[in-house]
């Protein structure tokens, strides 16, 4: 007798051959590191969004037909509002569990976007986007954009004053596009803003189009992860040709499954205790009122910030067409730069590095000073814009003048990323130098030994093999060299100018560098010591767990500069 479960499995296996695939999948090895769970937070909060969103669709009415409110919320009694807003109030006050679900959905949306960004940061700073994973970076980037679209379309659905303000701004941005702007706006809103068509349209976008695309791309994203195998952090025994970790089944599945409940639990806890988007406070949308403290959700705040920083009145009139640069620059050029830089970075770096090999071992951020500094400066620019978007709240909470804040942030938008770039790069180089120092001379130990001759020396403790491996495993990357302009027969080479440009870019990336200690250097640093017990320099693969520890005195004369 086979159990019913086994029988079903057998039935499926015989017809689909699924068994082999499942077995293959279950044996996939997954390396362990907390930062590999960031993407999972995004995945699980998305699942939470699907579940709570499906609940909301059962009660939400995507319609702009006007109704008069007669529900339990006293402050809105007899107020005229759209059915979308009225049904959001019904969800909040009359549907059992409705408010909780709304809050689960909205908190999950904020956490979804936050986890996408932290996940991207992990991938960026560790260089996990290098070949063969550039395409998956692009898929992930598209997911980020789709997440923004999902959030924005959802935020606009309840038709309250805040969401209407957001739509009003988008309408303004659209109209700012020369020539086609106003047609675009009429097309989008089905006539003059706000019209009657928008909420039903946004509803389709929000519950069908965008989640469908996200679901498909998440599938593709995970498939590509499995295909390319997982990356791993550097460590002894980990190379570009293997993956060290646990098999997916059962250990990893148990861990990941448990983690889903943690993510869901944290979101539910927040939804049960912290209010989010109290639309009944804002009231139904009406184009005239704008209340103090009107902001979008945090992931859109940088756009609002860019608009707030831009000095007004920068407009050019070309042949009867007004080109409102005061809107176009903050709403299109600034995000355009941020997003293009983000999407294209893997390709730019590969071009500057001239490296066509596959990489499966992650970089330590300090070992790629340019990349790390670049990423930090993008984040700083984003953060400055977020602060600018919150300028009024900063003003009231810290008793500052909003005008001063705006002026400071205008300069900060240019100065802070540049300063962050330089500081981060310096820090990376300094950390690398420190790594060299430790590899060559061991840990400082704080023990001073006095010889009979009266000489003092500090005793250093050498690294164990793991510690040393982490600090020396990476390859130095040097700027690309350009072949001469003329070949051996003195004929001018085609593509020389392009090569020059590429070399210039490459120098920007890699001119400042600290190279890892080579085995020869390591050997040299210890060969002149008589009481040296160090094993020979490690050569990667043969390393085994557990290093020998021994105390060795650094025999260099004191004061010879370290």
């Amino acid at each position: 007798m086979t159990s019913p479960a086994a029988a079903t499995a057998d039935f499926l296996d015989q017809r689909t051959g699924l068994g082999a695939a499942v077995k293959e999948f279950a044996r996939k090895v997954f390396p362990d590191h907390w930062s590999f769970l960031l993407g999972e937070i995004a995945l699980y909060s998305f699942v939470t969004l699907l579940i709570s969103g499906t609940f909301l669709t059962m009660f939400f009415v995507p319609s702009m037909t006007e109704v008069t409110y007669s529900g339990p919320w006293a402050s809105l009694q007899g107020t005229r509002m759209s059915e979308a807003f009225a049904s959001t109030l019904r969800l909040s006050f009359e549907v059992r569990g409705g408010l909780l679900m709304r809050q689960v959905h909205h908190w999950a949306a904020l956490i979804f976007m936050a986890s996408i960004i932290t996940h991207m940061m992990r991938v960026f700073f560790t260089g996990a986007f290098r070949k063969p994973r550039e395409l998956n970076w692009v898929v992930g980037f598209t997911l980020l954009i789709l997440g923004l679209a999902a959030g924005f379309s959802g935020y606009s659905l309840p038709d309250d004053v805040l969401s209407g303000n957001g739509l009003r701004i988008s309408d303004g941005v659209l109209r700012a596009v020369p020539i086609i702007g106003s047609y675009g706006s009429y097309f989008l809103f089905g006539g003059e803003f706000p019209g009657e068509a928008l909420i039903p349209r946004l509803f389709t976008v929000h519950i069908l189009l965008v989640p469908g695309l996200i679901l498909a791309l998440v599938g593709l994203h995970l498939f590509m992860v499995v295909l390319a195998k997982h990356t791993q952090y550097p460590g002894s025994g980990r190379t570009d040709r293997n993956v060290v970790g646990f098999p997916l089944f059962p250990i990893y599945v148990a861990k990941a499954g448990g983690f889903f409940f943690i993510v869901f639990g944290v979101i539910a806890l927040m939804a049960a205790t912290m209010q989010i988007n109290p639309v009944w406070n804002y009231g139904p949308y009406d184009p005239s009122p704008v209340s103090a403290g009107s902001q979008p959700d945090w992931y859109m705040l940088f756009l609002d910030g860019a608009l707030r920083l831009m000095p007004g009145g920068v407009e050019v009139v070309i042949a009867n067409f007004t080109v409102p640069l005061n809107v176009l620059i903050p709403a299109m050029v600034v995000p355009g730069i941020l997003f293009t830089a983000l999407a294209a970075y893997p390709f730019i770096e590969a071009y500057a590095t001239g490296d066509k090999r596959e990489h499966h071992v992650l970089d330590r951020p300090r070992n790629r000073p340019f990349r790390t500094a670049f990423g930090v400066s993008l984040l700083v620019a984003f953060f400055v814009l977020v602060l600018a978007g919150s300028n009024d709240l900063i003003a009231t909470h810290f008793h500052l003048s909003i005008n001063d804040i705006t002026w400071v942030l205008r300069f900060a938008l240019f100065i802070a990323p540049a300063a962050a770039f330089m500081v981060t790069k310096r820090m990376c180089l300094a950390l690398q130098r420190r790594d060299r120092e430790i590899v060559l001379h061991g840990h400082e130990h704080g023990t001073i030994v006095r010889f009979e001759s009266g000489e003092y020396i500090e005793v250093h403790q050498p690294l164990n093999e793991h510690e040393r491996w982490i600090r020396v495993q990476h390859e130095p990357i040097r700027p690309l060299q350009v072949a001469p302009a003329e070949d051996s027969r003195g004929v001018r080479r085609k593509g020389y100018a392009a090569d020059l440009r590429r070399a210039r870019l490459s120098r920007l990336f890699y001119a400042d560098r600290v190279e890892p200690v080579t085995p020869a250097e390591l050997a040299a640093s210890h060969s002149h010591g008589t009481h040296d017990e160090l094993p020979p320099a490690p050569s990667g693969q043969e390393l085994v767990a557990g290093g020998r520890r021994s105390l060795v005195a650094d025999d260099r004369a004191p004061g010879d500069g370290h």
């Binding site: 362990d32 590191h33 907390w34 930062s35 590999f36 769970l37 960031l38 937070i41 006293a74 402050s75 809105l76 009694q77 007899g78 107020t79 909040s92 408010l99 809050q103 909205h106 908190w107 904020l110 956490i111 936050a114 986890s115 932290t118 004053v161 805040l162 983690f259 993510v263 944290v266 927040m270 049960a272 205790t273 912290m274 209010q275 989010i276 988007n277 109290p278 406070n281 804002y282 009231g283 009406d286 009122p289 704008v290 209340s291 103090a292 403290g293 902001q295 979008p296 959700d297 945090w298 705040l301 300028n391 009024d392 709240l393 003003a395 009231t396 003048s401 909003i402 005008n403 001063d404």
Partner: protein, 260 residues
């Protein structure tokens, strides 16, 4: 009738008609619009006297003797008892100028002294008087009308539920959650500092009472849990990062640490 018929075409007729019409509308307006509250008549002269003494001791350095104003502070002739009750009753006056706007601080006078000061200033010239308990009673107002009025008249400075907001150059509109109904009414009536005056023509006394009914319901417990200051999506985003992502990263580090 005959006289009318005969003079109907007189070229002075339109002028006369216009005059009559103007007089009529003026008369009806005067009848319908409640007379601007003029105080001082109720105050005893003893109260006015003690008010004058207090004023000379505490206020005259800035507002001048006789409250006619100096370079440092405006004249108070005609600002009315309501302005004094609001300014002194919320602790704004006597002013301590240091920031971009005179701020509320602990009240320095007791109720009788405030009344005396108000009576004195009201005796200098007619101005809005202190509203009666009925006029500011939240129970007699309609919070739904109040919310609609608040959204169009006040929310742009004071935030949707009166949590407060920022103005230019470090000025700000304060939170209204601790403000008494009387001070709410007086603020609308007198328009302190950067705030506009909402006189009878912009907000009737019934409408003011509706607004008071709405505001006095705010700032308490809200449906759905902690209100996070009721200042909107920025604080929500901050909490999503700090609490949500904080907990989840903690969990991830914990799971990661449980292995290798």
């Amino acid at each position: 009738m005959n006289w009318l018929a005969a003079h109907r075409h007189d070229r002075r007729a339109p002028l006369l008609l216009l005059l009559t019409a103007l007089l009529l509308t003026g008369g009806v307006y005067a009848l319908l619009v409640p007379a601007p509250a003029v105080a001082a008549s109720t105050a005893s002269s003893a109260e006015v006297d003690s008010g004058m003494k207090l004023f000379t001791a505490n206020c005259a350095t800035c507002h001048g003797t006789g409250a006619t104003g100096t370079a440092a502070a405006p004249s108070l002739v005609g600002v009315g008892a309501a302005a004094v009750d609001f300014q002194v009753g919320t602790g704004r006056m006597p002013a301590q100028m240091s920031g971009p706007q005179v701020e509320a601080k602990p009240v320095q006078f007791d109720q009788d002294q405030i009344a005396a000061l108000a009576a004195y200033v009201a005796s200098l010239g007619p101005g809005p008087s202190i509203p009666t308990g009925d006029q500011v009673d939240p129970a007699q107002g309609d919070p739904a009308t109040g919310m609609a009025l608040f959204r169009t008249n006040c929310a742009q400075c004071h935030n949707a539920v009166g949590a407060g907001g920022s103005l230019s150059q470090g000025k700000f509109a304060p939170s209204l959650w601790q403000t008494t109904p009387t001070h709410l009414y007086e603020a609308m009536l007198t328009g302190p500092q950067s705030m506009p005056v909402f006189n009878q023509a912009t907000l009737t006394s019934q409408e003011k009472r509706d607004i008071i009914a709405f505001v006095s319901e705010q700032g308490g417990t809200q449906p759905g849990g902690l209100s996070l200051g009721s200042i909107g999506p920025v604080s929500e985003g901050l909490w999503a990062w700090v609490v949500g992502l904080g907990l989840l990263l903690g969990a991830a580090v914990w799971i990661g640490a449980k292995s290798s």
